[in-house]
């Protein structure tokens, strides 16, 4: 360890940290605190600071009577319910299969991963074309196998949210699979070997060894997916703009609309802070529960 006297300033350390920390204070830490301040005001960028007025908790009260915000929260929750269980189950199965039961597993792992690293704009573009009600590949396939009433997808109130959920699952599959594959590396092979001797088949082994042994990974992924899901923005903004009606409006996209379309920056900042508090609470719960996991193993 450095034999520096604690009372003296360690100038070397200061020099190493300063570039990063000063920039961090200017561009991240200060804005976080500044946005808290803005959230208690009525702020329109075109009126500047002169036209700003302090409104107390008005923005926070308003959001709980704002039907658009409530619809956004509801859609976010539906999104979580509709995507995460499927994502978890599917990626656990894929990871188990890719882990040791097939040839060219690295090639397939890379293919599954590609949607995750692709530009959300490019992805939204291609899915918009695939979802095209009359010409899109998806409905043409459905018609080819004899389905008459094909969904209107992005243009229909009932199908727009499920359509976005499908894209979201497709995007998240790669990351979840890769994390599960890393988790599988940590399971003791002897468990499977002794189960095999006892005459267990692969399905039984998956149910009674793989699933329980991966529980801490599953927990981590659930939290990560929930937090990520609350920040869904790109796909919604490009593919549906939150419509039709309120069908696909979500929190992150509504914050953007409030702040940069309607120029209600105070209101946007207050909703962003509610989002932050939500994410923060989920993370705290994660820390608490993870400590329990660590004590058990």
């Amino acid at each position: 360890m450095a034999s520096k006297n604690k009372k003296k300033i360690n100038w070397t350390a200061v020099l190493f940290i300063a570039p990063n920390y000063i920039g961090f204070i200017i561009f991240i830490l200060f804005p976080v605190l500044f946005s808290l301040f803005v959230s208690f005001t009525d702020f329109n960028i075109f009126k500047g600071f002169e036209g700003m007025s302090f409104v107390g908790f008005e923005n926070f009260i308003r959001m709980f009577t704002d039907e658009w915000f409530l619809a956004a929260v509801k859609n976010n929750l539906l999104f979580i319910i509709g995507t995460i269980p499927i994502l978890i189950i599917l990626s656990m199965i894929i990871a188990t299969i890719l882990n040791n039961k097939v040839y060219c597993k690295n090639f397939m792992r890379a293919l599954v991963f590609i949607p995750y690293i692709s530009s959300v704009v490019a992805i939204s573009v291609v899915w918009m074309k695939l979802y095209n009600p009359s010409q899109g590949q998806i409905n043409q396939l459905l018609m080819a196998i004899g389905i008459e009433n094909t969904p209107g997808w992005l243009g229909s109130v009932d199908w727009a949210l499920p359509a976005l959920m499908i894209v979201s699952i497709w995007m998240g599959l790669g990351y979840n699979t890769v994390v599960y594959m890393a988790g599988l590396q940590g399971i003791n092979k002897a468990l499977y070997e002794s189960a095999q001797i006892d005459g267990a088949n692969s399905v039984q082994m998956f149910r009674h060894i793989t699933v329980p042994m991966l529980s801490s990974t599953t927990f981590f992924l659930m939290i990560t997916n929930i937090i990520g899901s609350f920040q869904t923005f790109g796909t919604v903004n490009i593919m549906t703009g939150g419509g039709p009606g309120k069908a696909t409006t979500v929190i992150a996209q509504y914050i953007y609309k409030a702040g940069f379309r309607y120029h209600e920056m105070g209101y946007a900042a207050s909703m962003a802070w509610i989002l932050l508090i939500g994410i923060f609470s989920i993370t705290l719960i994660q820390w608490k529960i993870q400590k329990r996991f660590e004590n058990n193993f």
Binding site: A2, K6, V38, V120, A122
Partner: protein, 278 residues
């Protein structure tokens, strides 16, 4: 005669290849369509090879549009490269100090870092917008680059890596009378190549695909990056140019794919390092 195990393995491989084929089908369709005239892209089933295929769409989006995708491409490269290089520099220095030096308030300063890692961009965008307006950074590429040079997450990852470097190596350097900067450049950084590769590739992917920041901070279409350039193109092109829209999307994707194929291992290691208790 194949054993039962081998047969099973081959069968599963075929099933999984079909499944992964389904996963990347949107990309295949996009790629094939980007060479086709408008009349052919909505055929079902898709033909992989047709007589009408050419590079015309690429010529059109890269050179004949105004602004051209080549310009968007250039803006994207500038913002990505500058912010990635900056992130690498600041996060490796700070990560090293947090891991291997002793100073007052070290742990408190680092805790602030950990907490801000959770802050979503939605919280930062309003205050950053107001700040950039007053600082004169609004509607410049600096608005995209500067905030991204100081990344708590990258600093955290670098620190995690440096903590694992044995103190003996650094102590040996200090005893030889080397300056801390010399130890860092000559002893520590060469060891940190894998960690640096991870930081570079993760940040490259995030910056290249950035959508919300350019949407908010840029108004001059000559400064647009590929993501916002593409959305602008969609808004203006209408449905009569779907083949060009898909080609534009391909232009945004191709560099990313190349980078991913080169650095796949680092990317996956970096993403999973935080998830599994090591």
């Amino acid at each position: 005669m194949l054993s039962i195990r081998k047969t099973k393995k081959i069968l599963l491989t075929v099933v999984m290849l079909c499944f992964t084929g389904l996963i990347i089908y949107p990309f295949i369709w996009m790629l094939v369509s980007s060479f086709k005239p408008l009349g052919e892209i909505y055929e079902f089933p898709m033909r992989f090879i047709s007589d009408g295929m050419s590079l015309n769409n690429y010529k059109e989006v890269l050179f004949n549009q105004s602004p051209s995708f080549l310009l968007y491409f250039k803006n994207t490269v500038i913002t990505t490269v500058l912010s990635v290089v900056g992130t690498l520099l600041t996060s490796s220095m700070a990560g090293y100090a947090f891991a291997k030096m002793e100073f007052k308030y070290r742990d408190q300063l680092f805790l602030i870092y950990l907490i801000t890692m959770m802050v979503p961009f939605q919280v930062l965008m309003v205050p950053q917008f107001i700040m950039f307006k007053y600082m004169g950074l609004f509607n410049t590429l600096w608005a995209l680059i500067l905030p991204r040079v100081f990344s708590p997450l990258s600093t955290f990852l670098m620190r995690q890596f440096f903590v694992d470097i044995p103190n003996e190596i650094i102590e040996a350097g200090r005893i030889d009378g080397a300056k801390e900067a010399g130890i860092f450049w000559r002893l520590v950084l060469p060891l940190a190549k894998p960690a640096m590769a991870t930081i570079v590739i993760l940040n490259f992917v995030w910056r290249w695909n950035e959508y919300e920041a350019p949407l908010i901070f840029l108004t001059d279409k000559n400064l647009f990056t590929l993501t916002v350039g593409l959305t602008k193109f969609i808004d203006e092109a209408g449905v009569a140019q779907d083949n060009l829209i898909l080609t534009g999307a391909m232009v945004a994707l191709i560099p990313m794919m190349v980078i991913f194929l080169i650095g796949q291992r680092y990317m996956i290691e970096g993403l999973t390092s935080g998830s599994v208790k090591g």
